[in-house]
């Protein structure tokens, strides 16, 4: 398979919180225009990995390169300027601000006010519910609507890479389908996607490549179909920990 030019390259990444090592040296590459997924159980280190790329936590070791530029030492506020947008776990929309205000915050780094308005209208057209509730506090939206809002907000910075941390968490399956359709549409626009999920099944149909993460390490990686059919998948997903906890029975 022809691997597209790498947009995001992570190499030897180690993330620690005090004495706990959440990410134990991982290598990851996301090609331009790809949808790459990281799947793994709770506590695998997926969020820590994404947080390191987003500049929220500083890695203890390793390097992160985006579009050829090293991201080490880039301040948190500047990561979005580089072209990386994050939809964090739990969405983190601003509940006390209106839907429109939330979207405007997505465009914080942009200077072209007219184009921003046009973009906002486009998202309202794509999601009529958001459009109807544009002046309401975002806290009144349902879970699924908030997820749409969070994705639209991230897209408003016109990123090259958008990272989503468990967007399907807490959503009904029908809603998850709609979010994944949105991701397909985003990819059509040429935006690269890094998707973190616990539920591997759903992800296989969407993404190009998969990394399986457990206990802070990647156990398995490759094309979506390959990994899906790989007999080692379960072991990789549940990782070393399964062997250790089996003795508890």
């Amino acid at each position: 398979m022809n691997a597209p030019a790498p947009l995001l390259v992570v190499s030897g990444l180690v993330v620690r919180y005090g004495v706990v090592t959440a990410v134990r040296g991982v290598d990851l590459a996301v090609g331009d225009g790809e949808i790459v997924s990281i799947v793994g159980p709770n506590g695998a280190g997926k969020t820590s990995l994404v947080s390191a790329v987003a500049g929220i936590v500083a890695p203890a070791e390793g390097s992160i390169t985006f579009a050829g530029k090293g991201l080490g030492g880039v301040a948190l506020e500047d990561v979005v300027v580089q072209g990386i947008a994050l939809v964090p776990e739990g969405r983190h929309i601003f509940a006390s601000l209106t839907v429109t205000e939330n979207l405007m915050l997505g465009a914080t780094i942009r200077r072209d006010a007219v184009a921003v308005q046009a973009d906002i209208e486009r998202y309202f057209a794509m999601f009529p519910i958001l459009g109807q509730r544009r002046r309401q506090p975002a806290g009144q939206l349902s879970g699924g609507e908030q997820q749409q809002l969070a994705v639209a907000r991230a897209m408003l910075s016109r990123p090259r890479l958008i990272m989503l941390d468990e967007p399907s968490l807490g959503l009904a399956p029908a809603m998850v389908d709609r979010v994944y359709d949105l991701l397909r549409a985003i990819r059509e626009q040429g935006v690269t996607i890094l998707l973190v999920e616990q539920n591997a099944e759903r992800v296989f149909g969407l993404c190009d490549r998969v990394y399986v993460m457990s206990g802070g390490e990647f156990g398995l990686s490759g094309g979506a179909t390959e990994v899906k059919n790989d007999p080692r998948f379960d072991a990789a997903y549940f990782g070393v920990h399964m062997r250790e906890t089996a003795d508890l029975r």
């Binding site: 929220i56 601000l97 915050l105």
Partner: protein, 294 residues
């Protein structure tokens, strides 16, 4: 009847003063989770600036007062609070306490601890008639200025880009930064605005009391703190309401209490505060989505 209206106006006037003070404190708490004890020193030092500029035209004096407060606020932010940005709230509280005392003692070292007279805008201390009731000009001016500042601040927060950033940062600081909101800008703006509010309060107090002394900000600010707590820490409307209620209650109690209990009115206000907190520890208008700092 006239007495009642006068008391009411008195209450609204003092309540507004405390509301402005509480707002200055609330603005900074919102973005930084810092209770700024030094806000009292902003008020005090701004008043001393007025004293230093006495003799110049009043608008120049006022401008000088505002400039002093804003510059001092930004200085304290840069020197003392920025290095502590990720510290826990108790450490921040202690540091602002230290900054407050440092500024106060430094002021005493420089200008001495005795109070000085400052005759600013004495014409405002006259009485005037308003809708058939005799009132003090100053009270009407206080209420008017407070209303203007309140409206102005609300407009700033709701209608401007920077205001939007501040509201977002107050709700979820880390997420705002992820979206590109600059922490330094938002915090500096909060401090600058608090400086403006402090200067306004300072002017009004100087006009009312005709004096300037190194402790003048402290007493006001302590009461305003307690006001922000009952209003709801982290919520600007809460801060304004809490400050207002504490100030207004103080005046109402003075009018309603029997003479030998009047001196204790502050104690009663605080007891009322304690009771409110007993039943509603999160405050009257709790902040929505109070999130952790980065």
């Amino acid at each position: 009847m006239e007495r009642f209206v006068q008391t009411l106006v008195d209450a609204v006037s003092l309540g507004s003063l405390y509301a402005l003070t509480a707002l200055g404190i609330g603005l900074i708490f919102g973005v930084m989770r810092l209770i700024n004890f030094a806000h009292g020193e902003l008020i005090t030092i701004s008043a001393y600036a007025l004293l230093a500029l006495f003799g110049l035209p009043v608008p120049v004096m006022l401008f000088g007062g505002i400039l002093t407060a804003v510059v001092l606020a930004l200085l304290t932010e840069r020197a003392a609070f920025r290095p502590l940005r990720s510290a826990d709230p108790t450490t921040l509280l202690i540091s602002s306490f230290a900054v407050s005392f440092f500024l106060q003692k430094l002021l005493i070292l420089v200008v001495g601890s005795r109070l000085k007279g400052l005759d600013l805008l004495p014409e405002l201390n006259r009485q005037t008639e308003f809708l058939g009731v005799r009132l003090q000009m100053l009270q009407i001016v206080t209420i008017a200025i407070s209303a203007v500042l309140l409206v102005g601040l609300t407009w700033f927060l709701k209608a401007t880009r920077l205001g939007l950033h501040m509201r977002a940062a107050a709700e979820d600081f880390r997420m705002a930064r992820v979206l590109g909101v600059r922490a330094n800008n938002v915090i500096a703006t909060a401090f600058a605005l608090s400086g403006v509010l402090a200067a306004a309060v300072s002017c009004l107090i100087v006009v009312q009391t005709g004096t300037v002394q190194p402790r003048m900000g402290v007493q006001l600010v302590i009461i305003a703190f307690v006001g922000t707590v009952i209003g709801g820490l982290g919520s600007l409307p809460g801060a304004a309401l809490g400050g207002f209620l504490v100030g207004a209650a103080s005046i109402m109690l003075q009018a309603l209490l029997p003479p030998d209990l009047r001196a204790f009115r502050e104690a009663f206000v605080f007891i009322a505060v304690a009771l409110i907190l007993l039943f509603r520890p999160q405050g009257l208008i709790p902040a929505r989505g109070l999130k952790e700092r980065i």
